[in-house]
Each structure stands twice: as C-alpha cells, then as structure tokens.
Amino acid sequence: NAGVTQTPKFRILKIGQSMTLQCTQDMNHNYMYWYRQDPGMGLKLIYYSVGAGITDKGEVPNGYNVSRSTTEDFPLRLELAAPSQTSVYFCATLSTEAFFGQGTRLTVV
C-alpha cells in the first residue's frame, strides 16, 4: 500500500519555466490537498479537491493550477515559475486523518 506518492522529490526551475508536480494516491480518498511549507509559516493550502472533477482554491492559489480527472491523481501545475514559489510542496489526502506525501522541494532561480 503506497499511500500518497509525490514526484519529483527535488527540482530546480528557472524563472518563467513551467512544471507539474505529480500526486497520486491508492486509498480511494475523495479529499485531496496541495500545501506549501515555508520556514516558520506552517503549511498553507494552495488548492483542494473534494472529488474527481471538483477543485477549489485555498489560501494561496495564485500562480498555480490543478486538475482532478480521476480519484487517484491530483497534479499541481506551475505555469510561470517565480522565486516566491521556492518552497516545499506537500500533497495530502483526508479521511479520518490526513495522509501526506514525502514532499517536493522546489527551488526557482
């Protein structure tokens, strides 16, 4: 049982480049989330989804997009990377508790 799998683990992007952070889960959970973690700031919600075909903005959605075509997958898209998007990104699912992926450490230079 893999749980929540995020790829890649690390990435360096140049300003203006785009990329997709992948997140997949095998627990059949409806709720999925993308958070970013910055030092001393806890985790801030970027986008979330309550089921396939449904997504909504969280606290800090600007510069990001998501899609949820299947229950399993919830990719996060950065279209024009900016240095402010340097962060650690976590994907999570929720049932009676939250399950987190191992994170993606992104640096934009």
Binding site: Y31, Y33, Y35, G40, M41, G42, L43, K44, L45, Y48, V50, G58, F90, A92, L94, T96, E97, A98, F100, G101, Q102, G103
Partner: protein, 114 residues
Amino acid sequence: AQSVTQLDSHVSVSEGTPVLLRCNYSSSYSPSLFWYVQHPNKGLQLLLKYTSAATLVKGINGFEAEFKKSETSFHLTKPSAHMSDAAEYFCVVSPERSQGNLIFGKGTKLSVKP
C-alpha cells in the same frame, strides 16, 4: 474564522525530562484536532487525533494530548523526552469535516539535549 496558534516556535528540553507543546484553537464548530510530527527532510506523520470521543488522547511514541474545550486548548505532552523526539510538531484543526479543510499551526521545533 478558524485558527490555530502554537504558542512556542521553539522548545528545548533535556533528555528524560517532560515535554509540553502548547496549542490553542478557535473554531465555530466542534473540531477535529490533530498533532503531526515532521522529522528533518521528511513528510508529516500523525501522532494523535481528537474526534469528540475521550478528551485525553494517547498517541504513538508515548505522546498524549488533552482536549480542553473551556480553554480551547489541545496541548501535547510526553513524560520523558527521547533524543529521537527532536523534530517539528504541528497542531492541526479540521473545523468542518464535511469541507475537509485542515488548518495548520506554524509549528513548534522541539530540541532535545543529551
């Protein structure tokens, strides 16, 4: 509005002494409350959760937390710290389970001295 406040950004204890990590919350509804631990360069692991059953909740690795509605607190404790407890700890509230949102505190970094 719902919020979580972790009262200490950094706590330092000696090995074998008690640990207290403080958390206060505000929520319009009966919340679910969680403590997660994050070791360096790792993901987040659930320590324990409160979901309106017993107010004293026992978790993994000897940690426990007490839900006090009158004080809107959910402090995390452990009788005797171990070196392996050094990590960052997050208090998390889920104010409305139907929406499924999770609100994180800013974290408390626990250091354990030998």
